[in-house]
Point group: D2
């Protein structure tokens, strides 16, 4: 089995994390990253010895002027790789896709793009098989990834009838919170249901899920509340066991002092996770309640980190080298340190 050669287009919030994660995989090689920026955002890539490419000739010129020593153009990079991970801003990727197709490079886009861009939507624990050997897939958004992971766990345990969720969304990311944020307010999404429910069904059409979404003034993480109709009355421990079966769902407890998103984030930094990343859906176990055939729970979603493992698995799936989902998931999780628990 040959090493998978990977390019990242877009070295932003997701791109830089995928880049690091690719470098942690034994069966992958990060050939380079491409971006339009020539400022502080690129310095760390240079510092880490990553080859940096410009997305266009004018950007190449700027990079050279600022002394960044770029390795060439995106086109040069694409020539050298098996898969390109597109992490450009929302809706930009749709244009890039033409280039990837023309050049015959397999690619994956992020959840900001529409399902139709690739015709396949990806969450490793649900739709890996369908992506094996494809030309392209779309790793769904952070919110949708968390929904599919948790509902797939319930579905696998035979417990899921229908799920109704309220999604509290972080308003902006920390790196750009000096502009474009919200202050001292709560901002409901103007439409109910929100798009995440239908988006989850682009991964698994069997899910009966409705979501409502609202922006709150925090930069750290999303937090979801769920009211689930089970297929039958169940014991709390059945539900907990269903969640525990996934390495990508972490059970946490307020009784351990993990009482809020800021505390969980601090723990990730203390554990030495790169950029304090919480790759897992962190479900509060002691908060989770079953009443008859109804289940209520809440979890935290690190919107910057949660899709990183799925990006890695999606790369493998597209190459066709690892046909089995569990095999890929296991490799990814071992490399990233998932599944060992937080203590």
């Amino acid at each position: 089995m040959s090493t998978i050669r990977v390019a990242i287009n877009g070295y932003g919030v997701i791109g830089k994390r995928v880049a690091d994660a690719v470098r942690q995989q034994e069966d992958m090689q990060l050939v380079g990253v491409a971006d339009i920026a020539a400022d502080w955002r690129i310095w760390p890539a240079i510092e880490k010895g990553i080859a940096v490419y410009a997305t266009a000739p004018d950007r190449l010129a700027v990079m050279k002027e600022t002394g960044l020593a770029p390795a060439g153009l995106l086109d040069d990079l694409l020539d050298q790789v098996d898969v390109v991970v597109d992490c450009t801003p929302k809706h930009v990727a749709a244009e890039n896709v033409k280039t990837y197709r023309t050049r015959g490079v397999k690619f994956l886009v992020q959840g900001g793009e529409k399902h139709a861009v690739t015709g396949h939507s990806f969450v490793a624990e649900s739709s890996y098989a369908g992506a094996v050997g494809r030309d392209a897939t779309r790793v769904v958004s952070c919110n949708t990834t968390s929904i599919v992971r948790t509902l797939t766990a319930l579905k696998t345990a035979g417990l899921l009838r229908r799920a109704r969720g309220t999604l509290l969304r972080r308003a902006t990311d920390p790196w750009e919170s000096e502009r474009g944020g919200i202050m001292n307010t709560i901002v409901p999404e103007p439409r109910i249901p929100s798009h995440q429910g239908p988006d989850a069904r682009s991964v698994d059409p069997d899910l009966d899920v409705v979501t409502m979404a609202v922006k709150v003034p925090t930069t750290i993480a999303h937090l979801h509340y769920w009211s689930v109709q089970l297929t039958r009355p169940a014991a709390k421990q059945e539900v907990v066991a269903a969640f525990r079966a996934s390495n990508r769902i972490a059970l946490i407890n307020t009784a351990d002092g993990l009482t809020a998103t800021n505390v969980v984030k601090e723990l990730m930094g203390d554990l030495g996770r790169p950029r304090d990343s919480l790759y897992e859906v962190a479900v509060w176990e002691d908060m989770l309640t079953v009443q008859g055939d109804e289940l209520f729970y809440a979890y935290m979603v690190d919107n910057q980190a949660i899709v990183i493992p799925d990006n890695i698995d999606a790369i493998r799936a597209l190459t066709g080298q690892v046909p089995d989902a569990n095999e890929s998931i296991s490799r990814t999780d071992t490399a990233l340190g998932l599944g060992a628990g937080f203590r």
Copy 2:
């Protein structure tokens, strides 16, 4: 019918608003307010010509020292009134109640106290009749008031089977946000279900309601999301009509630019409402969605203002002078300017 003589014990967030509202009623007289504070919080009462009493002799001395010219002690105030509205901080009222009972003064406490303190819990549109002529009642909390108002509207229309809500709570009030707040985080209540569901049933035991609550970093207002199982498939306009039947539920639209809690609050100030008060539950009409027999909606709760009309009605109910709920509600709403809409 004689003028109802009212005292307020505790001139804080609720007390000062009830004081103003009492002064707006034709059938009531504010005899005075009592408090422990002798600082800026009391200046406006003096400025408005309200008689200020001290809750204890040592506080009376401090008030005199700072030149506030207090009118006497709480005991003196209680001698002169028919009803005392207790607005002291959570759990303090339970002690005051002994005094009220000893002196034979009818009283009402706020939602921070337990139901057992008075044996009756009050939301005007649901439980007015049961409070008529009683010695005491308890006006439930802001969150519970909003729940009972909206679910009562659905129940009255024959539409309510069961309701599951996620309650986003403001973390602290503006006046004390220089301490004790939360910053850049989301803090789930450690227990699911939260207490508001059972509390709503202290007003109306028939309600099938489960709530989950979470604190978010804003000072302005709460915001609730609901997933309701209706008794039957319904049209959106039936639900809207059910809500519109109440003066204390205001229908607002994002299409008018009322897109978030801060905007709605600004409108209240622009309309000249005292302290920018939103007395109504503000339900987003264009967001509200019915899917078959399921209803989804969100509303804003001004936690400082929403219980004020109910406090006024509760005063009337206790005196027994206005046996009919609708008569009292109508008087209160007219005096406070409810029901005219925002445009």
Copy 3:
């Protein structure tokens, strides 16, 4: 002396406050307001019985469609007034000025415009005389107004040599804090000195003042810190007396519980000030310190309210009906309730 007929162009944060203040003056009449908006922002004007004009024919059509019953076009409004107060967003006014000049209507613009637009910059306590009878003036920004007021007080007392200030700016206004804000960060202005120092000298060229400015994540108010070189060693009480001589500087104390901007703002609401307006520069008296010939102090600036009195005075100055600054200031302050203190 005839009643001054006033128009407001731009019914936003400043415009709506000036409108209310004009209506409180005995010698003025608010003929109408003009705006482009046809949403919730206009409802309160209609509710208050203010004649609303559209700034352009297409906006007139939209207003009619939404049932707002507009009174006509801005041009119609300008025909009926002596003075128009331009409160349109930053840099928009520069274009409007041509219209005002063509029509021969006296006008005043706000501090977002350049000094050259009118050739005169206005703070009542410093430059009233120079505006008497002029065609136009510019009421400087909230920050600059506070600087000129306080430094003028020190200058008048013969105490001011030079002043160096650090200006903490609120990041955005409450009504639009659901977008465009900053979150959990501090954002320095990229240039030192900031523009407020030179702007203060557009009002009074004698001031030796340098400012540095920084945005902080709050919506309530600005807060300035000053380090002032006095002309000579002075006693604290001399400085306090200098500030106390102005009705538009309010001395407050942390010892009264007025410890932060949120608390002071709450007090304004409790006092019944419209929209909780703090028109004064609120200087903390017990914080103010003199060390030899150096003075240190901090004050709060309600950026939405502080320029309102100066707008009123500027209207009078332009008409020439009240040549004396003190006479106008006194009328304005009496109408708005300044100078009575907060207790």
Copy 4:
């Protein structure tokens, strides 16, 4: 030269960072850490293989119950070390000091304690020599450390006459921001001058420095603004060169996109710094302005990280093994990656 054996008492914000930094030094050994906590805060120490001791028998019992496998009591730890770094909360250390003295263990306390506790206050670049061979010293607070570093640089260059600073303080740390924070307000310290100026003089009595401090609603970092009277008119490049001479002052530019505290913090994470630590005082070079003999500038202080290098140097100073400040500073900086710049 023997390896310095180090204990940390208090595994909190500072303690856990010092622990990691000690482990990065070639001439030091972290023998263990002591704490009272038995929850998530201790898990990472266990995970990293650090020996954890309990500060008291009852805490030892709790640690054992929760399965943490503690190594013993603080007393056992103190027996094995040359120096103990006290990182317990403010004012707790004063009591611990008696134990350290009784047992004859050299110790250092943090800036929350008074100067008198050790009789010596430490910033490596200013007062290292005075700590060599002492029994104890006190590493001053984050704010004071930044002041002494920058003013020492100006003093060394012969440029400093007197400095007047406004200190914007972060309101609380991220790990505990789910409680005890401030929201949407600005909170001035009630006393001017604030304590940081005198505290800087506890390190270097020659400094002529006055500070004013104010809390702002952010968790990320402090930000200081300075107005400095130079000894003579100077060129900007002289000042920049003075700052550049220190490894512990980093010059950054808004022109590189480093426009606010959140952006700089993100860069630290991208560079792989543990817990995104900014050990340096980050002075904005393109913002810094000289006008004649006056200097104006602003810098960012990562309050969680800035004192870590000084703690390491203080350990070395107490042992007497490295008499030369520059030698210690150089070792520390190399181990922690300071001085290489950010690009």
